[in-house]
Symmetry: D2
Subunit: 373 residues, 4 copies
């Protein structure tokens, strides 16, 4: 069945198919469409959708709902991520599975409400104190909105961590005709719950586990939840060995499982001199640029990065291998390029193609400014 939908719908539908049954948010262009869709549709499938009094309350509701057994989604734009910031830290500390959509608009501050941007790339990674890892996925298309939202829920459950969908005004508000039958629903990962048979210790793991199982408020278990550094019982502690163990685990549960998280699409050409590495809405232009470049007889490879954070270093190194130059087009002043420069290790020239005027980067921009044509 062919339908004419926009990215907001794709995200919302993907979420519902991934078992999402709770949404709380506060309106902000260009994320409001997701809120409106969820307010209308989530109750129909037995879920709860709330427009809270502000963003701080929204994230509070999401965390509370997640701990009560819900699969939660929220959506906002850059200024809203700011207001989520403190509670995102709580989500990391408390290992709360949830999915947060950032529909990027031009910043800083309210910037341009209806102007496309990719300015939150580093912000999503580093936007709360302490610096512990989160996962960030970036859809390039309407179909990605659907599938990466599902993947975001999957990873949130797998690792008990906030997972971001870093998208943008253009991707979320543009409409396309899609064949809904093309949308494939992967199996929904069940939340791993602690058995009622055994004594529950909130942050204790059995042998072989890398993430502690959950329980819900209201279960026979006593669930301790604290914003502070804690031991496996959920008791606040400042004992160095307990503090270190917790903090290292928060990092390792992500960094040691890159194989489950990393997602890129590599269109590599043997002997290519140039690699175009892109993500999000800009990847669409990059794909076009590769096609046009090849038509013009150039040897050009492309790497589309879907999992921005943690940086899929191995996949990127592999794609850079042998090329002389990597072009990184971004709708910001060169944020992800910093990561590529770090990985290039002086072996590959890194060239940014950047716009911060609210316009999209064109394939021509990439080829000309990148020095391919």
């Amino acid at each position: 069945m062919r339908e004419f939908i926009h990215g907001a719908q794709a995200i919302a539908r993907g979420a519902i198919r991934a078992g999402c049954d709770f949404f709380a948010g506060y309106p902000i262009t260009p994320a409001t469409e997701i809120l409106l869709y969820m307010l209308r549709e989530l109750p129909k499938v037995g879920g709860v959708a709330i427009q809270a009094e502000d963003e701080i309350a929204s994230m509070g509701l999401c965390i509370g709902a997640a701990l009560s057994g819900r699969r939660v989604l929220t959506a906002t734009s850059g200024p809203g991520i700011s207001l989520y910031s403190e509670n995102i830290g709580l989500g990391i500390m408390g290992e709360v599975p949830m999915v947060i959509v950032d529909v990027q608009r031009m910043g800083p501050a309210t910037g341009g409400a209806t102007t496309v941007a990719q300015g939150d790339v580093q912000f999503l990674r580093w936007g709360t104190s302490g610096g512990y890892p989160v996962i960030v996925l970036a859809p390039t298309s309407l179909a990605d909105c659907y599938s990466l939202t599902q993947r975001a829920f999957d990873l949130a459950e797998r690792f008990r961590v906030p997972v971001f969908l870093a998208t943008d005004k253009e991707t979320v508000l543009s409409q396309s005709t899609v064949d809904v039958a093309d949308f494939i629903d992967p199996p929904v990962r069940e939340r791993r719950m602690a058995s009622h048979e055994v004594k529950f210790i909130p942050y204790q793991m059995s042998a072989g586990e890398d993430v502690p199982p959950m329980t819900v408020y209201g279960s026979p278990h006593l669930l301790r939840f604290t914003t502070s550094t804690h031991d496996e019982h959920g008791h606040l502690t400042e004992k160095p060995e307990k503090v270190r163990a917790l903090n290292q685990r928060l990092n390792a549960k992500i960094e040691d499982h890159l194989d489950e998280i990393n997602l890129v699409n590599a269109d590599l050409q043997p002997e290519a001199e140039t690699l175009i590495l892109s993500y999000g809405v800009t990847a669409r232009a990059a794909v076009e640029a590769v096609r046009a470049g090849r038509q013009a007889g150039k040897l050009v490879s492309a790497l589309t990065v879907y999992s921005l954070w943690p940086v899929p270093e191995e996949e990127i190194r592999k794609a850079m291998n042998g090329v002389r130059k990597v072009i990184v087009p971004e709708l910001n002043l060169g944020q992800y390029r910093l990561e590529i420069e770090r990985l290039a290790q002086g072996q590959v020239e890194v060239v940014g193609v950047n716009r911060v005027d609210g316009q999209l980067i064109s394939p021509q921009d990439i080829l000309v400014q990148g020095g391919v044509l």
Copy 2:
């Protein structure tokens, strides 16, 4: 005159000597001492100090006061920076001179209130949407607290930008005996104000200017101030050329003046094989490690970075030149090390020495884990 003071006092005194006449903040360990000092002392010099109802209000008051002609300071810890985040974006967009102290404690979330950390290094740089630059200074000692606070005010006025002092629980709450006579007060930079003689256009510059002059609310000038992308008149605009001009200027006013901002201390030894690069409280151990290493007959250089952001790339490259290895000790999982890896370009091995257990890194940790001894 010798006095027994702590870092909080040094920061507060430095601020007052730099002309600070407004403070608003909300209590949070370990930053509360600064608030308390300002509440007591600022009125004595004709200033205003306010404990606001929360962090969001605190930053709102600071921005309003700055636009009314005040020199403003606020102080908090990581969770408070989260709550400042949206208004920091406004400070960047509106080009508001102000100084923000982050007394780092262990994160994420409330983490450890009285536990030292350096986990906000990337957060301070990237903690608001859009990704536009701020300035971050890191004191290593009580004397630095005094002098870098003054420098922070100087840079805030020079560039009309929020300037952070990235310090920590240990530096701010430890007491030392200092000879106050050693504190040298550099001249206070006067705020560059628009003449009342000419028509005021809020964001317009004359030839040769790189930052527009200011006015105050209540002056004969009409002062437009908006959180949105705007033209030189302060009118909201989405015209690509205006948007680009604004955004590029917000970046260029910092990036093009690194010579005025960069501040490091290089203790370089000819033929050194190893460079210890450090900042903040950890630099004290680094200095000790260099001394001990040299005593043990090792060739070791040291670079203390005071201006963390923008990264003083040239100074760092120069210090790395010729060494085989750079050791980066940090009280986090290796945040600033990412910048060093980027700059190393594969020519120098980068080794992190990291603790996240709430304990300080010792000189021995650096030498042993860094492979010097």
Copy 3:
């Protein structure tokens, strides 16, 4: 069908039968049961029930919903009425039909959360600035809870005014077995809406009308709504004749229609020397006292007042006619007695029987302290 229910349920059911399709409130003992019931039951009949972030938001939501065409209910206790106060004034000024339940507990302040009282009798009448009239109904029983809630909705629609249900912890939380078939549902009064055919002037009436018809936000009409003194167009005005006309109409629409509002139950005995005048939970003891008094050979009349405000003066004067003494039992220090003293005009002795210790007044209390026995 016989059911075992409490007063909260009776109120909630009565509301739904009266067409209530919106509820917003904030939990407070002993009113929380009504909130919980509505949260569960209102969605089942297509209504919306919200636990808002506080009482101020609750009343804001109620007013907004009423102006959008909903029939709204809220429920709280004394401290919540305080927080409603400002918006109750807006409800009076903006002529917003709504029903507010006050489940009285012991005051002042939080007083006794689970302790019965009738201390808000004057508060409900005078609890907002300006002194314009509202309507207050007081149920004496579970059956009254059901029927007076319906009547409250009817009067709210009729007069576009906030109508209170002044009840108490005892009445709302006690359970009884009732025969639901005994609950008779009067016809639901349709809201009088302005025709879409004619130009809408928000506060203009046609000949013969005493209350202006309504419209809803979202209709073709332009609906102006202001908290300030306004003319018939809803434009703010300070013109004396317009101000007077508005204020007098707000009063007259209630005071000139006592025949539609007043509700008492008179059980008068010829030649009675004593009248027991009561309301609310205390009326149950009064009825018992009358029975006991008569059994003891005393000539005693009873008047139960259901419509506390406006004071049903004519009905009260008629009941007092000929008696020598009127006994007014109240769970406060004699609030409604002030009204009776005013009406007694020195012709009848007025005796209060009062308790403020959290205990109910007994029939014996009335008879003995009232000097009947």
Copy 4:
């Protein structure tokens, strides 16, 4: 020395002369002038004046300051009294001495910001749950503003109760030339403090005391303060005898000391047929009306009521004694007239002269509508 001042200044000066050293409030026309004066002048005498974030916070600050030993004032208008309502209940329950100025403007809701009214007369008495007494004083002139503010502080300390100054836009914002030397400062009543020698029981009294002595937070005493019904230790209780004792005492400490509170000015003429009873700004017209009436050969008495609540019943009855008619002019629909009707006991005709159009009542209005001329 003659000065040209307005009522706001007279109130603020009177407060400072009465020892006021704390003010917190939020701006609202026509009370803002008092806030502004206090913000400027209170620090000069070592006091603290705060513009809080809203009215709820203002009252919270006032209560906290009072319990810390301060003499507190706040000022607002009708809508602000609504927001104070919950905390006024706390002030009654916790026996907090404080003075609250209500500069009445036209209600309900925001009504007319700059329009005079006397619509809060019953609201001030009954504006919080439970119905326990407060004291309300009404100045008629600039000189009264000065002296009654002092009296308000005196009574607040004497009875540990919130005392209102019921004034109005006209009285507070009109300017007159006064001879400041005429302002007589009565001795300032010292707060009765519990001795540090003896164990402190927060609500216990010695023989002969009718109000418990106070202590301050920070003293050696343990000060329990609760919003709930409590015993003499400040422990929450629901024991009927404790609850009754507390509630009766809250009432009796006011009602049993009318001799210390009641304040009227009687200008009685032997054989007078008519009494003009008035308060506040309207009393000025009443005085003129009496003079004009007498000039026209009428026998007219006047009673100006300064202490509105508790109602000075004895003084009013005495003034009504022998007259045939009492005229009660008010800038509302007849609120205080209800009290007079109650006291008249059918012996005296009570006639209201009322305006609610934002204009003052003239002497002529009183004489003509009152049927004197």
